[in-house]
């Protein structure tokens, strides 16, 4: 192991080589952190989309001239599809929501008014006053307010507290077929917490039966959420669901009915994935630059250790052995750098808030309004880390070869000559 111990001794005793390791380590740490954050975004987005919209969504579209599809029809059609764990009907409707009273609901220019996606859902409102059993459509003064679970951020913006009343204005189809305004009163029952700023800002849950009643909507759902079993592939399930719907004649010809969570998240997911790709490329250049300085560091080492190389060659080291020795030295430097980078990167990803405070002096840099999540999500993806390590080693290998080949080409008698 003498050559290896020689390499390790060079590494220990030459600050320049250690400096190279630190430089590589910084590059790796930055890329590790960026990848972990971008992966964190993707993981949290997936979680939020899947919990919010199901693993797949069936849009309940039907021709006005035909009898609408019923939820029971879907249940019957999909009962035998593998991977389907549960179906949930959901009624979606756009509305403006604001504090009740004053001019908030009557003046669309009011800042106390928020555009909101109302979802009529079946859970969590059981036994709540006005949960549908008691609420009546177009509830005016004196009617029982419908309970609403409003996004936490929207509630903050509208300065609402649990129990406060909210006014709602929307449009439904009037008797003459033209849009007719509809006003209703809700009571803030609880806050909707998803961890995603945009969802908490523009989403509210209400009892589905009450909403359907209010809107005079039949059938009382616009979507069917498909929850899959944990081991199922949502893409495959969506395909099977689509096939089953066609078979049961619950699909309109040429119209895609079933969207996977990935299709539902569409643009946002693609944007984050693209951003991850771009940032990976950009930050990998930092690692490349750090690794590139191996050329300079090892070239300097070759120059300084020229006599040692001559001695090794005189004692019988083949040129190939010299190449391997310097490449191995480059690898030692790189592996140490990767080690430093992984430790530093792990620390950075675990302490993003602290780092954010150091950088900004206490101000939030990663604001939820921009980045959607209250806390910057982090998820270390082993495949990405493996790729990062492999790419760094590959770059270091290429960069180490240049000085290594130079060392192997040295003439022995020149190297041994007293300088």
């Amino acid at each position: 192991m003498t050559l290896l111990s020689l390499g390790l001794t060079y590494f220990r005793r030459r600050p320049l080589l250690l400096f190279s390791s630190v430089a590589i380590g910084l590059g790796v740490a930055v890329l590790f952190t960026v990848l972990a954050v971008m992966n964190g975004f993707l993981v949290e987005l997936e979680k939020s989309i899947r919990s919010f919209s199901g693993d797949a969504v069936i849009e309940n579209r039907y021709l006005p001239s035909r009898e609408p599809f019923r939820f029971a029809d879907y249940q019957a059609a999909l009962a035998q599809v593998d991977g389907v764990q549960r179906l949930e009907p959901r009624l979606g409707w756009y509305a403006l929501v604001g504090r009740r009273g004053g001019h908030a609901v009557t003046d669309p220019r009011s800042t106390d008014l928020s555009g909101m996606m109302l979802f009529g859902v079946d859970d969590a409102f059981a036994n709540a006053e006005g949960d549908g059993a008691t609420a009546t459509g177009g509830n005016g003064d004196g009617a029982v307010p419908i309970p609403m679970r409003l996004g936490r951020q929207a509630a903050q913006r509208l300065q609402l507290e649990i129990g406060d009343e909210l006014g709602l204005i929307t449009f439904v189809q009037g008797g003459d077929g033209r849009p007719a305004p509809l006003r209703a009163t809700f009571r803030l029952h609880s806050l909707l917490r998803t961890g995603r700023f945009d969802q908490e800002m523009d989403t509210a849950h209400v009892p589905r039966a009450a909403l359907a009643n209010l809107l005079q909507r039949d059938p009382p759902f616009t979507q069917v959420l498909v929850r899959t079993t944990p081991d199922a592939d949502p893409l495959q399930v969506a395909e099977d669901v689509e096939t089953a719907l066609k078979k049961a004649k619950l699909a309109l010809p040429g119209y895609p009915r079933t969207l996977t969570w990935r299709e539902k998240g569409g643009t946002l997911l693609k944007a984050v994935e693209n951003q991850r790709g771009m940032l990976s490329i950009v930050f990998f250049f930092i690692v490349l630059v750090a690794a590139y300085q191996l050329v300079a560091t090892l070239t300097l080492t070759v120059t300084e250790k020229r006599r040692d190389i001559g001695v090794l060659r005189a004692l019988g080291a083949t040129p190939g052995r010299i190449v391997r020795f310097f490449v191995a030295l480059g690898m030692v430097v790189t592996v140490a750098g990767i080690g430093i980078g992984l430790v530093l990167g792990q620390w950075l990803t675990s302490n993003l808030r602290t780092v954010e405070k150091w950088i900004s002096g206490g101000e939030r840099i990663f604001r939820a309004e921009v980045y959607k999540f209250e806390d910057i999500p982090v998820s270390v993806d082993p495949a990405s880390v493996t790729l990062l390590i492999a790419a760094t080693l590959a770059a270091a290998l290429v960069f180490s070869l240049v000085p290594a080949l130079r060392a192997a080409r040295l003439r022995i008698v020149d190297s041994l000559r007293k300088r």
Binding site: M1, T2, L3, S5, L6, T9, Y10, R13, R307, D308, G310, V311, L312, R313, A314, L315, G316, A317, T318, P319, G320, R321, R411, I412, V413, L416, K418
Partner: protein, 236 residues
Amino acid sequence: MNDAPPVLKALQLTKSYRVGASRLEVLRGVDVELRPGEVRALMGASGSGKSTLLNLLGLLDKPDSGKLLLNGREVQNLGRAASSRTRASSVGFVFQQFQLLPELSALENVLLPRRLLAGWNWWGRRGNERRAAREALGMVGLGKRLRHRPAQLSGGEQQRVAIARALICQPPILLADEPTGNLDRGSSEEVLELLLRLGREMRSAVLIATHDSDVSARCDSIVTMSDGLVRLAEPA
């Protein structure tokens, strides 16, 4: 008279160097041979070409023309890798400047040729090699300085480490370039004595380049170099 066939034979070796626009002819057709167990001195003034000849005989450099036979096999045109392997198995070097690797201990320096000769397949023999290196250092009187680095050893001790390193593979040829040139008189005597004794014990063909007549006087034969040629002389 040594009747053994020569282990190394040089025939009409020439070597020249470019100096500016002209060429400097250093060796102009050198014939020399070395036999097992023979200790020869190579004498000549500074710049006479002693080191150049040693470099050619030790396969550290290539001649312009001529032949170099190692155990009857031509080796002057071997490729770089092949000549490295031949060097590792057949030639030991002792340099005037010791040429020890400063980062390695005495033991590690002595181990180097064995490790280089063994290539990548030395795992099974690791213990044997360390034992051989310890014995080699014991033979040169440094059995208790195994872990010392060159900087912690005197000049004479460093040269003794270099001798142990040169002999650990028991090479048939040992080339020494001014081995006592950097040593005081006492150390010179010890190192020379060691070199001669161990070379003879191992039946190595030893060629010592020197301009010290005290050194050459202890050798079996002397060849002198002048004008790029060698001629045989008897020891004084």
